[in-house]
Every structure is written in C-alpha cells, then in structure tokens.
Symmetry: C2
Subunit: 252 residues, 2 copies
Amino acid sequence: MGSYTASSQSSKLFFRQLFEKESSTYTYLLADVSHPDKPALLIDPVDKTVDRDLSLVKELGLKLIYALNTHVHADHITGTGLIKTKSPGVKSIISKASGSKADILVEPGDKVSFGDLFLEVRATPGHTSGCVTYVTGDGPDQPQPRMVFTGDALLIRGCGRTDFQGGSSLQLYKSVHSQIFTLPKDTLIYPAHDYKGFSVSTVEEEMLYNPRLTKNQETFKGIMENLNLAYPKMMGIAVPANMVCGLQDTTS
Amino acid sequence: MGSYTASSQSSKLFFRQLFEKESSTYTYLLADVSHPDKPALLIDPVDKTVDRDLSLVKELGLKLIYALNTHVHADHITGTGLIKTKSPGVKSIISKASGSKADILVEPGDKVSFGDLFLEVRATPGHTSGCVTYVTGDGPDQPQPRMVFTGDALLIRGCGRTDFQGGSSLQLYKSVHSQIFTLPKDTLIYPAHDYKGFSVSTVEEEMLYNPRLTKNQETFKGIMENLNLAYPKMMGIAVPANMVCGLQDTTS
C-alpha cells in the first residue's frame, strides 16, 4: 500500500458521513464553509433520517441547496421529496439516464457547484442503467485527496447487484474500471452502503483487495450471475417512489 | 459555529472508523504510517468484528501493537482477548481504575505511543468508575485538529448512562466539563457508540447542542436519574468477560 491518507483536506470543505441503520445507507453532507452562505448538499438522503439531517444542517448554520441521488434506490425511499417539503428552495438532482423526475437532471461531465466547490458527474451504469458517481473537483482549491461518491457501483470490498433495474455485470465492470479505478490511487471512496462496518476505502485499496472487481471481466460476470440474492423487501415500494424522488416529492 | 473542520490532518496518521452494527459500537484504527514499522492500535475492538479488523490491518501493511479499551463495556464483549490470541505480540490496554486485567494498566497523564504519534490518557469517570478518554497528542507533528476518543463518557448529542458499574451523574458531568470541553473547540469527538447514525462531532458542537451536557449540573443529574433504561441484555456476560479483556484473554 503506497498511499494512506484517510481523510480529505480543504480549507473550504465541511464533510460529514451519516448512517441509516435499517438499510445500511450512508448519506453525505458537504458544504463550502468558506462561502458567506455556507451552501451545502446532501448525497443519498434517506426518508427516515431527514429530520436528523436537517437538524444538523441547521445547527451547523449551513444552507442546504441540493439533495442528490446517485441512482434510483431499491432498498429505501430517498429523503429528497421530504427534504423539499420541509426545506423549500432545495433542488433535487438525479441523472437524466435514470428516467426519474427531479428538479435537475444531470448528465456525464456536468458539474454540481456549491460555493467554490463542485462535484463532477460520471456515468457508472451497471447496478442500474442510470447510476452516476459524483467526484469532488480536480483543482487547487478542491479537496485533496479527491473524494468519490460511488453509490452502489462500487462498495467497499464489494459492489452493487446487477440483476434488475437495467443492471448489467459487464457494464458495471466497465464503469468501475474506466470511471473510478482511473482516479488517483489515494482518492477516498464513499459508497452508498456498507454492511460490514467499513466507512471509507481508497481507489488503491479496492484495486488491490476488492474480491469482485480485481477479477477479470468473465470471472466477474460469473460471480455476479451466481449471487442468488433475494429481491429487496422494499423494492415494490421504493422504486416507484424514488422515480419521483420520494413519495412526498413536490416537483411532479 | 466557528470551526468546521470535519477531518484531522497529519502526514503521519492513518485513521479508520469501523462500526459493529449489533451493539452500535465504533472501533478506531490508528497508525503512524511515516514509521517504517507502521505501528497501529485499535480502540474499543468488538469480539464479533475481530476478523474484519485484523484483515484490514494486514491488507494495509500495518503492525498492530496495542488493543485499547476506554472502559469495561456492558453491552458487548471486547475483541482484545481474541486479538491477542490471533495476533500474538499485541498488548491489551485498559485503565488501572477499571480494576480489570490487561497487559498495560494506564493512569491519567500516561501516554500510549505508536511510532511518533501518541494518545494521552484522561480520566473521565461517571459512566463507569474506570472510564478513560484517549486524546491525540498536542504538538507540531501530531494530528490537527486533535481527536478525542471519549468511550461512553460523551456521545454525539448524548452521553453514557450512569446507573451501574460505579456510575455517577455528577462525576460524569465534571469529567466531561473538565477533561473534554476544555479541549480546543475544533477537537473531533469520536465516541464508542452512536445510535442515530452520526459518525463524528466536535467539542464546539457538543458544548452548543448536547441536550444533556449543556444543562447545569443539577438538571443533568435529574435527566440521568429519570432515563428508566432497561439493563443491557449482554451485561451479565459482557462485564465479567471484559474485566479480563475478553473471554479469550491470555494474560490472566
């Protein structure tokens, strides 16, 4: 292992990792605290923890401007709709490729700016056909090392399943190798879920130790085809709700 | 809110936060990666996640030298004993005031060194009579902002109960106010547990928003006396085991 940094440094960035235990979902709060408004965004908020998240935003004196999803989740309902109801002015963001409704539909290469900081949108389909990964900017004022919010495309020592919602193991393999493993080795990986209690990894660690993505493409395909997973309990409720950014979404 | 840094920076420190879901326990892995041996320590390991922790230590090329407990836990069995069995050479550490067995019994003011980094031991009784808090060192090469591992003395927006194991609400109040709230405001607080999905806080945040510790001493005492909590399910098994640093401890 060459690179070891386990936290990103920036004079501007405020960062918090938050966890929803039932679905083992990570929500991420980022803000530019050097900006007078302290503009903030939430990545992958969960409906059940919206009050916790908004309370924290308020205590910290941040101004929430965006609520982003990495994809249409099948295991929990996004908090986006509830956030928009409780905090008018917040804009929901999801990929155009997801086919969902949201205030802003992003495409690969788009930037999501908050103050002087920004996230870059990368297409990482394979878990679902509309999955995107958000990467912190590359530049002198942006956080170093870079941080990548991979959704379910790449998990710590794992990856999202590929057997529904337009999933494709070959597409996922290509997405991770071309869009995530090409980032600097010390890039910090923050996934949408963890089931084993890991909080963060790095590109270098996953390139060395991910038990699935270190295999060749054919072996990976075989692994993914033989997971024999049950369908998520929440799927029938969560997917239709998340296609409109949460049941309580007010954009439609 | 004046200070916002949510991660600590050091050219030497490697840091990982790990979670055990059943008991909502955080385990912390710290190492000095600037030292040729990459000496590492684990704070509050859990028996059920020892294999995960040791596997990570191995993958990262670290040399685990210490397994520390902040106190005799009542809700889970420490991983210390198992770690010593699986990784001979690792020394267990707990406070002398805990009355427990371990390889090294620390007292307030002691330093636990790993490479060029160290933790300072502070007595923070109140949850149990032997609780200690570990604080990263104060100095030019030590992590900035400082990091404090508070065990159950101070939780994020909460604190440990004080109704058994020599607990005392007045003692806990004094411990937190004299030993933790006197640290720099941007000190990062890493507790032994979180039940709401928070991962980190700061001294400033808890001094402003902790719903218990921001009250005066008498009000705090009243709150703690009226929690009406059930005894931990694991208590009858965990406390005797943890008094010898885990059932499988080889020191006794």
